[in-house]
């Protein structure tokens, strides 16, 4: 492959100005209070929080924009949304689903008292199924904890892994929680990201997961939400990033693979079995074909800010981001940023929202826009925070 991932232009791009200050103010405002229309996304508040914190991190102002007191308080808030097994009934067959959720179900806020750490809310078979954790919230809570400076030492790893096993379907796909049966690629990605952050894949049947991803690559060469559906930018990111988090073996060529040092015969054979099933040239082509100015999510759909990241992230993961037309993509994003309020809308002349604002900045990060921190595309987090995951969290640090 002729491509490199680390291409970073050093000069200020020409053309319209990136409204960095306005975007900082936009995320700060939203972090304080999200406006009323976000009520319809109340159950996904943990994810909205990630976009606000992550936006400030990418803009390079996380620590100055969020006081230490707030960082500490929000770490407690996030842990208070963790569902953990109760001490009195640690039964093997309990039905509760562990991980992170939201305060909407009405669980009591947990405050650290008398030297007792706040570990989250105790749940078990006898508590309500409506207090459930949700796979996406678990993924986004973990990223937010890392960014706020937590070492993840209070994360209930084993219960989360146990819950992952419950959420994987016979066809390899994941559902987000027992009360919401939506088996599709989004939750495959969340399961992969959670496993990666916890540095433990024992909650996932990897061959089944790979098979699901393989089955979901369509005749168009993008990936669909599940087998036989239409190729889609968001799910192509989820599929490709999941493969990347699993080590990227799927992108390798079976014929030219070599055994790694210390790898046994059976380990090597197993790894070979995982290789080569993704039609990389097809995926590269499908992704690049989605560029109009920015990117569309499907053939002949409107160009939309978020696909500048979803598809940009997927192309980066397969090492071909330098084949993107930066000037056109940047030009589109400069049009969707809101000149007065800051933030990015879905389309030109639409009001900004926090998801599209984060995704717009994440795509600019991939292109090395000055004033934005470099992004690690597989986890969708700054490279600085990826280092923090490796060096300062309990699951990774040596």
């Amino acid at each position: 492959m002729a491509t490199t991932q680390e291409t970073q232009p050093t000069t200020q791009p020409s053309g319209p100005t990136f409204q960095r200050e306005k975007h900082i103010q936009y995320f700060k405002r939203n972090l304080q209070m999200l406006p009323e229309p976000y009520t319809s996304q109340d159950t996904f508040r943990m994810t909205l929080g990630l976009f606000a914190i992550g936006g400030l991190e990418l803009l390079g102002v996380l620590e100055e924009a969020i006081s230490e007191a707030n960082r500490k308080a929000w770490i407690e808030w996030i842990y208070s949304q963790q569902r953990i097994p109760s001490k009195d009934s640690p039964s093997e067959d309990d039905d509760a689903l562990y991980g992170f959720g939201g305060p909407f179900s009405g669980l009591a806020f947990q405050e650290p008292t008398d030297g007792q750490q706040n570990l989250g809310c105790e749940c078990n078979s006898h508590t309500s199924p409506y207090d459930t954790a949700h796979l996406t919230m678990t993924y986004t809570a973990l990223l937010s904890l890392i960014m706020l400076g937590d070492d993840l030492s209070r994360v209930a790893k084993e219960p989360i892994l146990k819950s992952l096993r419950k959420l994987q379907q016979p066809n390899g796909c994941f559902i987000p929680c027992i009360t919401d049966y939506e088996p599709d690629m989004r939750f495959v990605y969340c399961a992969a990201a959670v496993s990666y952050i916890l540095n433990d894949w024992s909650g996932v049947d990897r061959p089944a997961l790979l098979n699901f991803i393989r089955e979901s690559q369509t005749y168009e060469h993008g990936f669909a939400q599940s087998p036989r559906h239409e190729a889609h930018g968001g799910t192509t990111y989820c599929a490709i990033a999941s493969l990347g988090l699993m080590g990227g073996d799927a992108f390798l060529d079976q014929r030219t693979m070599v055994r790694q040092e210390g790898e046994t015969d059976s380990e090597f054979e197993e790894r070979r079995a995982r290789a080569g099933f993704v039609d990389l040239e097809g995926t590269r082509r499908w992704c690049l074909q989605r560029q109009t100015t920015g990117f569309q999510g499907r053939i002949d759909k409107p160009t939309d800010t978020c696909y500048s990241f979803w598809i940009g992230g997927a192309i980066t993961a397969i090492g071909s981001f330098d084949l993107v037309n930066f000037e056109c993509n940047r030009g589109f994003l400069m049009e969707t940023q809101h000149k007065a309020f800051g933030g990015f809308g879905k389309w030109v002349n639409t009001y900004p929202d926090i998801l599209h604002s984060y995704m717009g900045i994440a795509s600019l990060a991939l292109m090395g826009e000055p004033g934005i921190r470099p992004l690690e595309p597989l986890l969708n987090i700054s490279k600085r925070m990826q280092e923090r995951l490796y060096n300062e969290t309990v699951f990774w640090k040596k």
């Binding site: 209070m33 996304q41 996904f44 508040r45 929080g49 407690e76 369509t218 559906h229 002949d300």
Partner: protein, 357 residues
């Protein structure tokens, strides 16, 4: 179905007087608080109380509807409603009418479409309880692409019942697709309906349906994808006859709109699936070069680049490398310059091909 507008909020009615709402406990300094309306906060307080008590009652069922209309993406309220419908033995046809109204209001809600699937799955199961093999009533069981029945094994009257149900579902979906012909949820659900009831006669009509949609909009890629789904899944796999018919179908659409990506992707996809080489459409593509409009289609040149590249590799032909290179230059410099970096990269890849001296 229009909802009855009632001036008195539910929580001021006497039948709710005994319920103590549970407020949301967000702690002293929450992350991204949302500026909830009073109506939302109050409603959710009552909803939390119902959930905590796991109350199975008419008022709880009514409340789920109110909550869903405020926040359709809520990830536990639908489950609660599904439990209630079952416990209270509610008429599922009435539920379908309400869903129809909700789909019009929130066509892109994952949860609404999935709820439809659960309810229709239950109706299917209730038709002939002894013959069904799958259950959609409990979310923890796998959603199966497998059929609920072996259609051919049903009696004539049972067949009619199933056909009526499938027909009404396909019509409902077609109605939603009129508003948004590319609604991902509608298409996903349509595939489920087609497959869930087995190999019935509805598969035959589906090919005509995609053709009808493509007549209206040849660029509707969702309809192309559905066509691929039907052709490769509907009649026991793709036959050689199917391949020939579909290749002709795609070619005829390409001739009408050569710059439309969908039929190109479909054409090469069908060829691959049918184990045919892309080189089989070489003459067709070369023929398009003399058609004024087609000459500027990036897909004509991109497909020719692929064809010549395959030829160059298979025949170790320097002439084919040259032709491929010309197509790459044409794409990078004239007809698809937004992707010039990609086409130039493809050009450099051609140099690696080992050609006969």
């Amino acid at each position: 179905m229009a909802e009855q507008k009632d001036d008195v909020p539910f929580y001021q009615k006497p039948e709710w007087a005994d319920v103590v709402p549970i407020p949301q406990d967000d702690g002293p300094n929450p992350l991204v608080p949302i500026a909830y309306t009073q109506e939302y906060s109050t409603t959710m307080g009552y909803f939390r109380a119902m959930c905590r008590a796991q109350e199975k009652s008419e008022r709880a069922l009514d409340l789920t509807k109110i909550v869903i209309e405020l926040i359709p993406s809520h990830f536990t309220v639908w489950y609660y409603r599904q439990q209630l419908l079952k416990e209270l033995n509610k008429d599922l046809k009435t539920e379908l009418e309400w869903i129809e109204w909700m789909v019009e209001e929130h066509p892109k809600s994952y949860q609404i479409w999935h709820h439809r699937q659960v309810i229709v799955g239950r109706i299917a199961q209730s038709l002939f309880p002894s013959t069904t093999t799958t259950s959609s009533s409990t979310p923890s069981t796998a959603q199966s692409a497998e059929a609920a029945f072996v259609f051919d094994d049903l009696s004539e009257s049972q067949k009619t019942t199933v056909q009526d149900l499938v027909k009404s579902e396909l019509e409902f979906i077609a109605e939603a697709l009129k508003d948004d012909t590319k609604n991902y949820h509608a298409w996903s659900y349509r595939q489920w309906v087609l497959a869930h009831f087995g190999q019935g006669p509805w598969w035959t009509g589906e090919l005509a349906y995609t053709e009808e949609l493509l007549e209206k909009d040849m660029r509707n890629n969702s309809a192309w994808n559905q066509r691929y789904f039907v052709v490769t899944n509907g009649f026991g796999g793709l036959t050689e006859e199917d391949v020939q018919r579909e290749v002709q179908f795609a070619k005829s659409r390409i001739e009408k709109t050569p710059s439309n990506e969908s039929p190109w992707v479909y054409l090469t996809g069908i060829l691959r699936k049918g184990n045919h080489s892309v080189t089989e459409i070489k003459e067709f593509c070369e023929g398009l070069l003399s058609v004024p409009r087609a000459n500027f289609s990036p897909f004509v040149h991109a497909t020719l680049l692929d064809i010549y590249e395959v030829e160059a590799k298979e025949q170790r032909s320097a002439a084919s490398v040259e032709k491929a290179k010309e197509e790459a230059i044409m794409l990078a410099e004239k007809v698809d310059s937004i992707r010039s970096k990609y086409w130039n990269w493809r050009k450099t890849q051609l140099l690696k091909i080992d050609v006969a001296a």
